[in-house]
Amino acid sequence: MADKIKVGFLLLGGCAGCEMSVVDLSEKLVDALEHIEIVFWAPTVADVKYNDLESMEDKTIDVAFIDGMVRLDEHIHMAKVMRKKAKTLIAFGVCAALGGTAGLGSLHTKEDLFQKAFKNTPTTDNPDGIYPQPSCLVDGKYDLTLPAYEDKVRTLNQIVDVDYYIGGCPPHHSHVGAAIGALVSGQLPAKGSWITNGKAVCDVCTRNPAKQGGNLARTMVDKVLRTVDGTPDADTCLLQQGYICFGPITQGDCGGSCLNVNIPCRGCGGPIPGNEDYGAQALSTIGSILKDDTVTAQLMEKYPNLAKFFYRYALPSGTLPKRM
């Protein structure tokens, strides 16, 4: 079929979980394949090499999905290549969109991270402290290289122009399905937008006190609990109970998956459209709803690193962190 949409998938620094969501579409993916043709899927699925992509003609891919964050020079290079080859580029999942959890690595130096990863973990035996080197001459003649480690994590849009964003860690397969559906039907929002229903997790959460009304209407949070401190009541708003939940601040395309299993939202869905800085807004919203400064102090004690708390999935995209 000539008018099949040509799709490519490229994984940068990530776990390929987002791609698993695509696979999780199962029969729906098979149905979709009537309309789409996957021309590139590396390095996860297809036996293609980067130079296969490099050698493609520009703009031959209709829609490219890139998942994972940007940490290596290789990521930068491949993102740029894919941008050239793709007509439409989607930052797929929260790592590509906002940096993801691995983005918190930016709060540590490269040296610290290397030490932790290659020397100080209990299961590592590396007394001489030998670390991966970007290039190395073996036997005096083999010039071997490894991708070089950048100083900090970046989001995809800090490297190339991004047309659309999809949140989630990973995105819920139903959301991926809906996004692919939108692609196929051509009903996409304005360029630069998130593909999302645009509402907070609270909007889909059955525990939202605003839906209960009356005595159950939302009140100020009078204590702070972590999930290790107890088991939340399964019907009451987690935030209201003191389990700090980012549901109000986070896009709810997941359908409230975590809340459904009694786990507070940590924000993988990304900020609601209009918010530029997830962590700053999370701090502002949560700071607003805490009853008084003793509760605030409690929060700061329970979560000793606020940057890692509020920016769990979004640090590299933060207004201030991205410029540091």
Partner: protein
């Protein structure tokens, strides 16, 4: 050239902004470092604004609100305290010098205090030197 810090101040119109006006009435002297952005209440100041200002290269940011018990809107300043105390902590956690950010309660009667706070803040910023993000990519 001598380093003159650039301070952006978010000032509640009822207290700190009025206090700054009073400093003028009293002809208090302080360094010409602060530029106030008037807000109805310090509770209107998003933490993001502070971060934006710092990211944009401001050497210091001040958020000025009313003393507890004096808020024109009853308790907007309590929200300010919660948010800004956490923000100050988070700046440190981000590896950004939290001394570049101050949250102060300055009433409309405290013109002298306003001048003192700015004088003191300016001196501290001179000691800290320019914001390392000055001229950084936006």
């Amino acid at each position: 050239m001598e380093f003159v810090p650039n301070i952006i101040g978010f000032a509640c119109q009822w207290c700190t902004y009025a206090g700054a006006d009073l400093a003028g009435n009293l002809r208090c002297k302080y360094p010409p470092t602060v530029k106030l952005i008037k807000v109805p209440c310090s509770g209107r100041v998003k933490p993001e604004y502070v971060m934006e200002a710092l990211a944009g290269g401001a050497d210091g940011v001040l958020v000025g609100g009313c003393h507890f018990g004096d808020c024109h809107y009853k308790d907007g300043n309590h929200k300010t305290k919660n948010r800004m105390d956490m923000l100050k902590k988070m700046l440190g956690d981000l590896g950004f010098d939290p001394r570049r950010f101050r949250r102060e309660w300055i009433s409309g009667a405290e013109g002298k205090k306003f001048a003192e706070v700015i004088t003191d803040f300016t001196a501290e910023l001179i000691e800290l030197g320019p914001n390392p993000l000055k001229g950084g990519v936006k």
